[in-house]
Symmetry: C2
Subunit: 463 residues, 2 copies
């Protein structure tokens, strides 16, 4: 994070760090578009009514007020006030409903934007950050194959980010119907409550969650233990998943002919399909992990979290799921499935833990020197010629001593300094110096090209 | 604007319109980087103390409050509250001061981001919009040649946008010192006030401004007329500018040996230098226009507005100036000069007046058909092969009748539909159909490439 970042929770990056963020964004966009996703951008604000109805994040909203209306904010009900969006899924749902007549369904969209959460400052969490989302939204129905494809698009996107130092990513999938059916089969009806507590497992551990299930969700110690046993289940193929789940159901005495089990089985079948299909396309990229709960309450089927090898403590870096009831218009529903990468947190990790950095601060490959201010237009003209050929070029800020001009290029990481022919030297012509290797050669701005290794600003990683 | 945009002032675009916006952003970024500008992004919020001290826009701020703190907002002084930034110049100045130890000066930066203004809803103005800025900020000093280069960078960027239907752009330049010296020479000391009224000329006309100068700024009718005469001055070269300005000074009786005239002359010399230099590099791109005032109060020297040929009623689409006192740290100052394109307004104009549109909604060049759901993996595999070669590909959402799959491609503007070899047909192999021309040919996903005219999503304009 930028040394001077003066507002806790609002990260800001130095230019050489921003290069890494921009490279992440460019790479994700490229992968999303290669997969046929359509880019949109939604406004940053939503009415309170739409922000408040969705899950726990509703507690962390920033509301807006016009400076002139200060002191009068409370006259307007929260539902009618504007707030900053806290994710990109709620705005997508609203956008789809508003524009349904102009969209082709299933609507596959990517979106990379800032979101805001009014967290308490002391928590040290980001209050402004970038999310990168892909979703597919159907009109009335949405085929289950998208529940395999969407996590795989994210896996292939994250795979591209390994060039910036990212470790291998694995998607952990679960299904809300499976969990709900299991809990109901146990006789627990506060499904939301149980999911909320299970979601805390990584943070507070098994014993604390067990206590909460008893105290907050009315579970008996046996029921609580069964819930934790379910959360302990993982599987890497469908057959294994079925066997382990059914084994647990038998062990805890769930009626496998009952309605609750039927619901669980529906989720089980989808989850088994997902990990088997994913395994065929990208072996090892998606596993079943029945502790995945997701705090937000709009998911109705598959849920996903993604962990990095050797950086599990970072938590999930890419999460999502299927939501069948988020967008509705009268009787029509727009079911969707999607995942969201927490880009700012990923960037922060790459910068601090993996040493990701720009090979240079400036996008320019060449700094054109200026011998004296009266001849600045000669240097400008050379720079223009280079730019017209796609070579990024800067011109020295002042006609300082040549050593100072070279130092300016060096500070910015610009690899080449161009010396215009000086008076009386027109016969010999311009020269260009690679200030990294020290090589200096005659050059013509209409034909010279930088060595490929010095041609582009790019991201490297490692110490 | 998207048909369903439900919040006045918060524009949102349909996918085919967003393609145009994204192309504008990509093009500007490319030009800025070719010129050696460094990209940064600042947080969306600033403390009230920093938003409130700058000019008239301070009246149009959105303040934030956490939902939980509702009803308690007034306990915190506005200066200590957070607000959304209303431009990118104030955040840049703050960023430069905070990070000065980590930056190389002069610091040339580009920044394309959303800004917010808490306008009254009924005004029909954007309350959320994108700005694209370039600025150069010096440490202690900033050479005057940047006052020519910055508008020319914008001219070359706007020139690139002509590919999307933008008319020719001309930068109109003035200088605050010239105006101030002239007004003081007339005996008018409320310089800010006069500039504020002159800034209204295009909106309310000469007579109304004349009245306001008398009633609001204490001008005599003669002084007011002299101010309007100055605002009527234009020139396309430095000599002409000097002659016309001095002619007017003599006519209205300004003491050309006095201090006020000296100040005016300082601005006059810079302005003459700007139009002469600009004329040498890009003839006709920058003219002197002495009615340019700029409402914001942080400019201290050159000021710029930019108008489009045949679309003058749109007002200035790219404005800025030199500010010597915006960023300070103790005794150190960071003078800057920069311009800002109102990207959302430009986009709105290109969409509605110039018919700018995407050649297709989807980035995909190919839709791979699915014969039946059991064989979906065959289609997925073909799509993967195409993507690995950089060809954006989508897969049909369902194994519907082939006509329906082609219609899906057609709705999204995807030019090619790929037919995997059907059972018993392996010998003949895959075929690909261009659904625009109707051509259908055998094809191999490892070697086929789309015709160049159908290869990329791009922007076109015209009916």
């Amino acid at each position: 994070m930028s040394q001077g970042a003066s507002l806790s929770g609002f990260p800001e990056w130095l230019p050489e760090q921003r290069v890494v963020e921009q490279a992440l964004i460019d790479t994700l966009r490229r992968v999303f578009e290669l997969n046929g996703f359509i880019g949109i951008e939604t406004r940053a604000v939503e009415p309170g009514s739409s922000l408040l109805k969705k899950g726990e994040t509703s507690k962390e909203i920033y509301l807006l007020s016009r400076l002139q209306d200060r002191g009068e904010e409370d006259k307007v009900p929260v539902e009618d006030r504007l707030g900053l969006h806290f994710d990109l899924t709620v705005p997508l749902s609203r956008y789809v409903v508003e524009n349904s007549g102009h969209l082709t369904f299933p609507f596959k969209r990517w979106q990379i934007q800032k979101v805001w959460r009014g967290e308490r400052p002391q928590e040290g969490r980001f209050r402004e950050f970038v999310q990168a989302d892909v979703d597919v939204v159907g009109n009335g129905e949405l085929p289950a194959h998208y529940e395999v494809e969407l996590p795989l698009v994210m896996v292939s996107a994250l795979e591209e980010l390994r060039a910036f130092g990212l470790p291998k990513a694995t998607v952990h999938a679960n299904n809300r119907k499976l969990s709900e059916g299991f809990y109901r089969g146990l006789g627990l009806d506060d499904v939301e409550g149980v999911l909320r507590e299970i979601d805390k497992l990584d943070k507070i551990g098994t014993n604390a969650v067990c206590d909460l299930l008893v105290s907050q969700c009315g579970a008996t110690p046996e029921q609580a233990r069964a819930c934790l046993d379910l959360a302990g289940l993982t599987a890497s193929d469908g057959r294994q998943l079925h066997e382990r789940f059914d084994g647990l159901c038998r062990q805890v005495g769930i009626d496998m002919g009952g309605q609750a089990y039927s619901l669980a089985e529906e989720g089980l079948d989808t989850l088994a399909m997902i990990i088997d299909e994913a395994d065929r396309i990208r072996p090892g990229s998606v596993i079943a992990d029945l502790k995945i709960a997701r705090g937000l309450d709009y998911y109705t089927g598959s849920v996903y979290e993604t962990f990095l090898e050797g950086a599990e403590s970072l938590g999930s870096i890419c999460s999502g799921g299927r939501y069948d009831n988020l967008a509705t218009q009268g009787k029509r529903t727009y079911p969707g499935v999607g995942l969201s990468i927490g880009l700012s947190r990923l960037l922060s990790f790459l910068l601090s833990a993996k040493g990701a950095h720009a090979n240079r601060v400036s996008p320019a490959s060449v700094l054109v020197a200026v011998w004296n201010e009266g001849d600045r237009s000669v240097s400008d003209h050379i720079a223009q010629k280079l730019r017209s050929r796609g070579i990024a070029a800067d011109v020295a800020p002042t006609a300082a001593k040549v050593g100072k001009q070279i130092r300016y290029a060096d500070h910015l990481g610009i690899p080449y300094v161009w010396f215009p022919a000086q008076e009386g030297e027109e016969a010999t012509g311009d020269e260009v110096k690679n200030i990294i290797t020290g090589d200096q050669v005659p050059a013509d701005a209409l034909s010279w090209t930088p060595d490929s290794v010095y041609a582009q600003q790019r991201v490297e990683f490692g110490a």
